[in-house]
Amino acid sequence: MNQPVQHPEEKVDVVELRVPCKAEWVALARLSVAAVASRLHFSIDEIEDIKLAVAEACTNAIQHAHGSSYIEIRCEALPDRLRISVRDHGRGTRPESIQSRDLDDERVGGLGVFLIRSLMDDVQYDVHPENGTQLVMTKNLIV
């Protein structure tokens, strides 16, 4: 897995989780990450935002990453933010499947990506059609 670059002085606690790439495990993933966010003293509203963003990332993996048997979730607790990476190992993910949507569009596609981008402070995608997708999203901790 490509690891995000750390500044040397940053102290990072890491929590990792690996869940089957199946719909019935998404609740476990979002609740686990919510517990991490709660430990970092994010507000209730922010925890809800993080929960939904993680669930959307997992849902995207389940719906688009063909052949990925599991999803890896890595939470990095930094002093001023929580960085979450969601990675699948599926093939066939098309870059357009992770595009956001137009708000006037009543189609369902792209809603999940739109939500992730709206709820998190920074979102980066790394898409490899033959080797899976990694989404890295960050929520800043406002003290």
């Binding site: 998404v26 009543e106 369902v108 999940g112 709206s118």
Partner: protein, 114 residues
């Protein structure tokens, strides 16, 4: 994880779908089936009560959008009852407040059905 779906007949040719629990990629098919079954029976005026829903994601929103599209083809409508601020926020940021009637009470949602 739980989802509760209850369908009941209301006034006129309207039906209310009470939802409770968490609507996500795992549970949303059950909601889709309940709404689809009503539409298949010719029910085109629906109030979907989300008061007891604690969580909804894009797959849940997709089911609601899909239901709305289907009833509109028959001149119908879908109104929502939603009082949970976190869920209202999701309708706000996705712009879905512009396509759904969203009300604080079931009475208000029922009265506003076209």
């Amino acid at each position: 994880m739980d989802i509760k779906v209850n369908v009941r007949e209301a006034q006129g040719d309207c039906y209310v779908v009470d939802l409770g629990g968490e609507i996500d990629v795992y549970t949303s098919p059950k909601v889709k089936d309940a709404i689809g079954e009503l539409i298949d029976r010719g029910v085109y005026h629906l109030v979907i009560n989300l008061e007891k829903v604690r969580y909804i994601d894009s797959t849940g929103l997709g089911v609601l959008i899909g239901g709305l599209k289907r009833v509109r083809e028959h001149g119908g409508s879908v109104n929502l009852v939603c009082t949970n601020p976190q869920i209202k926020k999701i309708f706000d940021i996705t712009g879905l407040v512009k396509i759904f009637g969203i009300f604080e009470s079931e009475d208000a949602a029922m009265k506003a059905l076209v």
